[in-house]
Symmetry: C2
Subunit: 279 residues, 2 copies
């Protein structure tokens, strides 16, 4: 527990530092590193790193995605995806005696979706600027992590019914509900503090708190889904943790499993619904 708290504090410290560089290329580099590490952890968990060409292609895709220019990607998307499909099939044809099509499909999806989902943090910044985008980013991370923490303590106090006994035996329904409530309340506080800080910096923003309260539970539930999805993969491959980069927490994929789903969820939602705006 002590180790876990220390890791959390270090992680939060890193996060604060990264946050100050939100508007620079350093942020893309950090997201790129997280994406590459997550893909490697996943490929390792599903026993696919022994396929060298496959792993190399996966890492290449993961490293490239956070640096792709939005306009180029939009124009070249069909071509890029088609070339990737061809490349993955060429690897399958080359290694077909050991490598199976299911493994190729899984690695393809991990290598594309995990970095794209993490890169939602970059898309938030690019679309809304560091000021508004920063709060959206905190919203995604808060919906994931505040709910994780809230669920842990609520579950310890009131947990009775198991949420998904075979996939994640420690999770309870009561914990999940508590987590969602805690995350929603805490996000209101975070948004208020952020808004106040921004006003002090002469960058006033408005926050639609009603939408914040209505949507945070949705994102938290999506975060729980991300957590369970990462867990079911571990179960099926008989792996305890994805890694050990954050002692007490495990790997990137153990710590970011729920954020992996809340980041694109927030990005997609705020494309269509204005929750934070420049005053």
């Amino acid at each position: 527990m002590k180790q876990r708290v220390i890791s959390s504090l270090i992680g939060l410290g890193v996060l604060v530092v990264v946050f100050f560089f939100l508007d620079t290329l350093l942020f893309n580099i950090v997201i790129g590193l997280i994406g590459v590490l997550a893909v490697l952890e996943l490929l390792n968990a599903v026993k696919c790193t022994r396929f060298r060409a496959l792993t190399a292609l996966g890492v290449f895709i993961a490293a490239a995605i956070p640096f792709a220019q939005e306009h180029n990607v939009r124009v070249l998307m069909p071509a890029i995806l088609f070339v990737l499909v061809l490349a993955f099939f060429i690897i399958l044809l080359k290694d077909h005696e050991k490598l199976r099509v299911e493994q190729v499909a899984m690695v393809f999806l991990f290598s594309v979706f995990v970095p794209v989902f993490f890169s939602s943090a970059i898309y938030l910044r690019n679309s809304f600027g560091a000021g508004v985008g920063g709060l959206y980013l905190l919203w995604a991370l808060g919906s994931a992590w505040l709910s994780d923490t809230g669920a842990y303590f609520t579950g310890r106090a009131f947990g009775k019914r198991k949420l998904a006994p075979l996939i994640s035996p420690k999770k309870t329904v009561e914990g999940a509900i508590g987590g969602v409530v805690v995350a929603t309340a805490a996000m209101v506080l975070v948004a208020y503090l952020y808004q106040s800080a921004m006003a002090l910096w002469a960058y006033p923003i408005t926050v639609n708190y009603l939408l914040l309260v209505l949507l945070t539970p949705v994102f938290s539930v999506i975060g729980i889904l991300g957590d369970l999805s990462a867990s079911v993969i571990k179960r099926q491959f008989d792996v305890k943790d994805y890694g050990n980069i954050m002692p007490g927490h495990g790997g990137i994929m153990d710590r970011f499993d729920s954020a992996l789903f809340t980041l694109p969820a927030v990005f997609i939602a705020v494309q269509h619904i204005v929750v934070v705006a420049i005053k």
Copy 2:
């Protein structure tokens, strides 16, 4: 062989009829049917049709894709893909005791890419109109099928070195080369006849024959890759044919395996290179 030729003639007859309805919704319906059948054949081959929810979702996606409005898809693409990822993970969480993440990944990719690849025929028509798009469509089908046929006869006459002995033991390097040459020559003839017919119908078009001769071999090789990719899936799941809808040829996926790859290849190429244009 006789059965095979009869099936081919029936298939060509259907193709000619479909071609006359290229500019109508009937074409989308035909492409939709081909996509749904192909996805069902693939899911059956890889032993996934027993997962009912997974199969239903796959068929739903395959049926929807040829009718999706390009503009809506462009705007909603991130949301659609994200909801699909969530839906597939919910199915995995529900059936996690029998269904594996690799299978979900494979079904996801088949259900999305196969119908999108076939729908390239629709995108060709939508982008270039029935006149120019029609020849592009024939180019894709010709690069696939003329090369198949050319390879068959050249291989029987001169075939010595095996192309991929474990995946497709009947294919030879000599046959593949012959197929590419035959397809290229025959496509020049097809384009010339098409151009002449269009001129008669007071719809004159120009064809860049140099680009046609340069690109047809590329598409034919991509078609061979599609053929081998479909074969390696059959090998890995110990299946002889994908179906028997076309006696002597097998299923949709046996007949359209190379066209599945040449259709998006042609569509992507002609987005960037003008080969056929209205005079």
